[in-house]
């Protein structure tokens, strides 16, 4: 169609007739103001993190379920000739991790209040406390391995390293995330109106911290 009209233009050397401009749909009243969509209650990032936390909760539930089977079926727990776990030091470590959840919360609250510098300071404290937790855990693990508690020494050792190791890996992951968020905060990424990145990191950190007392009570105290 277009080809034939172009050929006709070349042959007759005249412009095709232009249709008279008409108002769309035959006129009518002018359109109203543009409709503004409602802002989403939860943005996609938060929803995604919530889903991920649900999956993480189920992952740890599976591990805890395995622990319950072996723990309740055992005649004696811990099994004979296996070292006892360091309850006291890990209790202090639990307190350190719990305090880090508060500092993370204060960081989010500070950025909401417009105190960006204060938020960064609280992030630094949170990262320090998380690193301290991991360092103490690593130190205790080295001592336990020297005492003969390894992954293959017994079911006790296997369960201990699987459960606590999985949590330690999550704390490490959260710590890396925290460092990335800190870098973004230094570059001025977050403001009073836009601090989603910090908030979702805080959600993940809170999950990791909230999980620890459950594991501590189950593995160390029960």
């Amino acid at each position: 169609m277009a080809k034939s009209s172009a050929a006709r233009r070349l042959l007759h050397d005249q412009e095709p007739p232009v249709a008279a401009k008409e108002t769309a749909f035959g006129g009518g009243p002018p359109p109203g103001p543009p409709v503004q969509a409602n802002a989403p209650v939860l943005n996609n990032a938060k929803l995604g993190v919530i889903m991920m936390l649900g999956a993480e909760a189920m992952f740890f539930a599976g591990l805890i379920g395995a622990f319950i089977v072996f723990r309740l079926a055992a005649e004696q727990w811990p099994p004979p000739f296996q070292p006892r776990l360091p309850v006291g030091v890990t209790g202090v470590n639990t307190l350190i991790l719990l305090i880090s959840a508060f500092t993370m919360h204060f960081s989010v609250r500070a950025v909401r209040a417009g105190d960006i510098g204060g938020s960064r300071r609280f992030l630094t404290v949170t990262a320090f406390l998380g690193t301290l937790f991991l360092a103490i855990q690593g130190f205790e693990w080295i001592k336990l391995v020297h005492f003969g508690l390894t992954v293959s020494s017994s079911v006790y050792g296997g369960l201990f390293y699987t459960l606590i190791g999985a949590h330690g890996a999550h704390v490490l992951g959260a710590l890396v995330w925290l460092v990335v968020v800190y870098g973004q905060a230094r570059r001025g990424r977050y403001s009073t109106k836009d601090y989603n990145g910090l908030q979702i990191c805080g959600m993940y950190w809170t999950f990791v911290v909230a999980l620890w007392p459950v594991l501590y009570g189950l593995v160390y105290l029960y």
Binding site: V41, I50, A61, G65, A66, I68, V69, R71, L72, A73
Partner: protein, 114 residues
């Protein structure tokens, strides 16, 4: 056999919902087969159908209790997780709706009262 007949029954319903007589025949066959399977299972060797790890090993006492508690825990957790997420989302949506209604009311209020 029971599965085969029930699938056939569903397919028949989907294909021609008015083939009532043929459907009744199929359902009759399904009921007879199900009854036969139920009676036959009573006389069959029950050891061969114990697929559960606890039943198969004949575990009892503390091992069976441990499995029971673990199963209960794992059965409850998904409901807790999904319920928490659903509850949290419902709370967030409700709070947003209340805030929106309050904002609209504040906008509609006369200026001299604001």
């Amino acid at each position: 056999m029971v599965w085969f007949i029930s699938i056939d029954c569903i397919l028949l319903t989907v294909k021609n919902r008015y083939a009532t007589l043929r459907l009744l025949d199929t359902m009759q066959l399904f009921i007879v087969t199900a009854l036969f399977a139920f009676v036959a299972s009573y006389f069959a060797d029950l050891q061969s159908v114990q697929a559960c790890a606890v039943c198969l090993t004949g575990a009892d006492g503390s091992v069976a209790d441990a499995y029971d508690w673990s199963v209960l825990f794992l059965m409850t957790t998904p409901y807790l997780v999904v319920g928490s997420i659903g509850g949290g989302l419902a709370y967030a949506y409700r709070r947003a709706a209340v805030k929106k209604a309050n904002d609209a009311a504040a906008e509609e209020a006369p200026k001299h009262l604001a």
